[in-house]
């Protein structure tokens, strides 16, 4: 008899795309093949991802097309307290969550995300299923940092390593230190009902140990990746001058740092005015040749969600880099092999620590070395000089220099490509989780 694992996630990729929810669905799918466990998926739905109001009257549940083991659970965004990350409507959730848990009586509950449910769902689970182990994957830093878990100071935009009531208050002067103290105590209290935390990066793991999760309750477990349907082609015998950016067009992802670096490179290089086609068709550079000038393809969307000043800067920079930057815009994940085929390097210029960027795994799966900020989990996942290059975070000069070095050093690309590790496979991840679940259930 298979034991039942319930996955809980704050969103479903069929409603809105997103890293954690995509991973959660992939894990659920992969776990269906397990000989020991039968997965269930409970995905929260509601504003801002989907329309207001539950689908049916009298229940918060609705079906995910065609799968009896996946459910949507509606919650109101208005009822969500963003400071405490809890729902103000205690009773509603308590009743409905409880009913769901009692109906399926999962042997183990694995939370992927509790946003829009509230951390109290953990205690509700403990109450309803006193013997079911509770696992919680920490996808980001929301419990630590009120600024959407960015770990960036609000005024200086400096990366932050230490949350304290006073420091958080200086970031949010309208929220008192006492309120931040209560926030911390409240969230810690609820997270203490979790039996085991999983951290997809060592950097993230350390942040949570610093914050107060006992080291023995947290374990490093990287995201497992499904094999890609087709690998992006490698261009042979040509300059390695093509760069790709994949991600949200927002401040935190550092797109403007990258564009500024491209602007400076364009000014320095006299032949940077050559057209894209010329650049692509340029002959293979000799050792002394600076090589074809670097060119960047920007893939990403959601610019409109950023503050107007950021959007203005972005557009100005795009205008100033017409010659060496091509703006592609929104992309589908399924098109990634084709898009990757067009680039040699993937640039990850985030100005914050990052949690465990999936794009680094994607780049590695397609055999693309990564140029990234020397920060947090990016620096952890990409080894400088082995499978990519680091530059000083938030420093366009450093990035420009790194790009110039990367695109003009013959054989560097090939050497770094050879250094790319095998990406953690979903099947290994599933067997890893299998062991973890067994250990917890065996207690």
């Amino acid at each position: 008899l298979k034991r039942r694992i319930l996955y809980v996630c704050h969103n479903h990729p069929s409603v809105a795309p997103g890293g954690a929810e995509t991973y959660a669905l992939e894990l659920y799918e992969a776990m269906r093949a397990s000989a020991n466990f039968e997965p269930l998926l409970l995905a929260r739905t509601g504003p801002p991802f989907s329309p207001e109001g539950p689908i049916h009257q009298g229940t918060l549940l609705s079906a995910v097309d065609g799968d009896p083991n996946q459910y949507f659970f509606y919650t109101d965004a208005d009822e969500f307290d963003w400071l405490l990350m809890t729902s103000r409507k205690k009773g509603l959730y308590a009743r409905h969550i409880r009913a769901f848990l009692e109906t399926f009586r999962p042997d183990l509950v694995h939370f992927q995300h509790t946003l829009f449910f509230g951390y109290d769902i953990i205690l509700q689970t403990r109450n309803t299923l006193p013997h079911a182990p509770i696992v919680y994957t920490l996808h980001e830093y929301l419990p630590i940092c009120h600024r959407n878990g960015q770990l960036l100071r609000t005024k200086s935009e400096e990366p932050c390593l230490e949350a304290s009531p006073l420091r958080c208050h200086t970031c949010f002067p309208e929220i008192s230190p006492a309120s931040f103290f209560l926030r911390q105590r409240f969230i810690r209290s609820h997270l203490s009902f979790v039996d085991l935390f999983l951290a997809p990066s060592r950097f993230l793991l350390e942040r949570f140990v610093d914050w107060g999760i006992p080291r023995e309750k947290i374990r490093y477990e990287e995201y497992g990746r499904l094999p890609v349907s087709r690998l992006a082609e490698q261009r042979t015998n040509s300059g390695r001058n093509r760069l790709g950016f994949f991600g949200q067009l927002n401040f935190f992802k550092g797109i403007n740092v990258l564009l500024e670096a491209m602007r400076r490179l364009g000014e320095e290089e006299p032949h940077a005015t050559r057209s894209m086609r010329e650049a692509a068709d340029a002959p293979k550079p000799r050792a002394s040749d600076p090589g074809p000038p670097p060119h960047l393809w920007v893939h990403g969307a959601n610019l409109e969600l950023s503050p107007p000043e950021f959007q203005d800067t972005f557009r100005e920079l795009l205008e100033a880099t017409k010659a060496n930057v091509t703006f592609v815009g929104r992309y589908e994940r399924t098109r990634l092999p084709q898009l990757m085929a067009n680039v040699d390097w993937v640039v990850v210029p985030s100005i914050w620590w990052e949690n465990s960027p999936l794009i680094i795994q994607e780049a590695f799966m397609h055999g693309r070395p990564v140029i990234c900020s020397d920060l947090g989990s990016m620096a952890e996942k990409v080894e400088h000089g082995v499978n990519g290059l680091h530059f000083r975070a938030n420093d366009p000069g450093s990035l420009a220099e790194t790009i110039r070095y990367a695109t003009s050093s013959p054989d560097l690309w090939e050497r770094l490509r050879q250094g790319i590790p095998e990406v953690y496979r979903m099947q290994d991840h599933v067997s890893g989780l299998d062991r973890i679940y067994h250990d917890l259930l065996g207690r």
Binding site: K90, G91, S176, P177, F181, H190, S192
Partner: protein, 614 residues
């Protein structure tokens, strides 16, 4: 004495009066008070006997009158005119009256025939106007005042009807004064900015008066029902630069503030008048603003004035603020009661320890405490009692408490109060339903730092034989000291003792704060005391405003009775000192409380501090 005429002749069927007297007009002032206007030969010094047969023989009635000279009499100076009030006993059948009213006084014995009352004019103001309009203003004023005495023995809905009628009579009879007068190029005018009801007899007024002459000779408050109080002698005067600009006077202190008590209660929100007469006799008047009744607003408005008193320290407080506010606090205390107690889960009732936690406005602290208490089995062994002091949030709290119990499963009770009752009463009411041997009075913004603290605190308490109150180490959210015991401090040049916390703001590990020891007092934010002892001492006193100084007041009483108050450094909790009150009001309340606390305890504090080396 020769009378010029008799208005009518007594009916032959009535028992004939000894001497003439007659009622021209009668009207009901309220359900059981009759206004009768007429004449008779008795003087004011003669006793009045009134009676009426309600069916079981004559019943004596409470009658009184005031006299005036009648122009239609041969001797208009003879006080034959009578304005009479006749009060019937409770449950006397007055409508209709079964027998005539018989009135005897001095030489007169006459009737108020039941027949006259059967069609008595129902509008007493018209009755009064038609009979009395021709009198001199001062006489009319005297009559209004006389009538207002009827309020003394009235209460309830009846009193309100009476008040409305008296107001109508006052309006019918009074001589309005000009809004302002001008003399010697100066304007004389008066204004009442705010009129606050402390209770039915006690009112607090703030306003200003601009004198045409040297100084106003009189300032009179006239209640809607016609009671009059002279304010000038008692008022606190202060400078009002805005008024001085408006009136062009250079003299300071145009503002006045007065708490005054009326001989007769006043019930109406509107209809006050403030009359001003300058020393040279120029009169003017101003309508009073609608009376503020809501008690919290009244108290706030009174405390706001404390800012005016830097130069006259003590006078405003002693003569106006204190009598008004202490009366409010007293009324507040007598009205404090529990409406209902609801259990969430099944709380421990045989517990050794009862924890009493007031909730005021910010209900979310309940959730924050639950999120900590859930981890501590020690809490489940105690009797946990929350007391809601925001009655308007009762429904919200009931639902919230139910849901929180569902989630956290820490059983507790909530006492819902009838009215907002203030910190002292909330605790006392909480204690009234507590059953533990020991009490822990705790604020909702206090959170434990570690598990098992309740039993350690009980152990500590039990280990000290003469202990009165026990307070633990309390921390701010940044791990600095919020409380390590209380002491009293009198700043240089001040006459007031202030409550101070030892080592506030220093690191929690400060060696000096790491020693458990007797202290002058401990904070009520987290205070343990024997329940019987608390009861003996009468609990917290409700004389202070908005939760302040109750703790030191109790601790001083304990010292006085020979007990020791202890600070325990081993037990640590957080106290966030979250303010649910408006900060500026808190400041003024503190000022009042500090003054009052010194007034009550000043000498005792001096000797306590001498003992503690302060």
């Amino acid at each position: 004495m020769k009378l010029s005429r008799f208005r009518s002749t007594p009916s032959p069927t009535s028992p004939l009066p000894r001497t003439p007297g007659w009622i021209d007009n009668a009207a009901w002032l309220s359900e059981d008070i009759l206004l009768a206007i007429g004449w008779c030969l008795a003087r004011d010094t003669d006793t009045i006997r009134a009676s009426c047969n309600g069916g079981d023989g004559p019943v004596s009635l409470d009658a009184s009158w005031t006299s005036y000279g009648r122009a239609d009499f041969a001797d208009p100076g003879y006080p034959a005119g009578k304005v009479m009030t006749i009060r019937f006993p409770e449950r006397f059948p007055v409508r209709p009256l079964r027998g005539d009213i018989v009135i005897e006084s001095g030489p007169s014995k006459f009737l108020v025939p039941a027949a006259l009352l059967a069609d008595a004019r129902t509008d007493p103001a018209s009755a009064a106007r038609s009979a009395l309009w021709w009198l001199e203003p001062a006489e009319r004023e005297g009559i209004v005042r006389f009538l207002s005495d009827t309020l003394k023995a009235s209460s309830g809905a009846d009193a309100h009807q009476l008040a409305r009628n008296l107001h109508a009579i006052r309006e019918a009879l009074r001589e309005p004064l000009p809004r302002h007068t001008t003399a010697a190029d100066k304007r004389q005018t008066v204004n009442a900015d705010a009129l606050l009801r402390v209770h039915e007899h006690g009112y607090y007024v703030k306003g200003w008066v601009c004198d045409a002459g040297a100084a106003p000779g009189r300032l009179t408050a006239v209640s809607p029902e016609g009671s009059r109080v002279e304010l000038l002698d008692r008022a606190f005067r202060h400078s009002r630069p805005d008024v001085e600009r408006l009136c062009g006077t250079a003299e300071g202190k145009t503002g006045f503030i007065a708490y005054f008590e009326l001989e007769q209660p006043s019930y109406l929100r509107e209809g006050w008048i403030f009359e001003c007469r300058s020393a040279d006799g120029l009169p003017c008047e101003a309508p009073g603003p609608p009376v503020v009744w809501e008690r919290a607003a009244v108290r706030t408005a009174i405390l706001e004035d404390l800012d005016l008193e830097h130069a006259w320290r003590g006078q405003l407080l002693e003569d106006h603020t204190f009598p008004a506010v202490s009366r409010i606090q007293e009324l507040h205390g007598t009205e404090a009661r529990i409406r209902t107690v609801i259990e969430y889960g099944t709380p421990e009732k045989q517990a050794d320890l009862s924890i009493i936690i007031p909730l005021y406005r910010r209900l979310e602290f309940l959730e924050h405490q639950m999120a900590q208490f859930v981890h501590d089995p020690g809490i489940r062994c105690a009797e946990l009692i929350y007391v809601l002091d925001s009655p308007e949030l009762a429904d919200d709290l009931n639902e919230y408490a139910r849901d929180l119990y569902q989630l956290y499963r820490v059983p507790f009770r909530v006492a819902f109060l009838e009215h907002n009752s203030g910190f002292a009463m909330v605790n006392n009411l909480g204690v009234s339903i507590a059953s533990g041997r020991l009490l822990l009075l705790m604020n909702s913004d206090v959170l434990p730092d570690s598990l098992g603290w309740t039993s350690r605190m009980v152990e500590f308490y039990d280990s000290k034989p003469r202990i009165g109150a026990l307070g633990p180490k309390l921390l701010f959210e940044d791990n600095t000291l919020q409380h390590a015991g209380l002491y009293f401090h009198r700043p240089d040049g001040s006459s007031l003792w202030e409550n101070q916390h030892y080592y506030k703001g220093f690191d929690r590990g400060l060696p000096a704060a790491s020693v458990s020891r007797p202290v002058p007092a401990v904070t009520a934010a987290c205070l343990m005391i024997d329940r019987e002892l608390y009861r003996q001492q009468g609990g917290f006193r409700g004389i202070y405003v908005q939760g302040d100084y109750e703790d030191s007041d109790l601790c001083l009483r304990l010292l006085d009775a020979g007990y020791e108050n202890w600070y325990s450094a081993e037990i640590e909790l957080y106290h966030l000192e979250a303010q649910s009150y408006r900060w500026d009001m808190r400041r003024l309340a503190t000022r009042y409380n500090c003054w009052l606390h010194t007034r009550v305890w000043g000498d005792a504090i001096a000797s306590v501090m001498a003992r503690f080396g302060g």
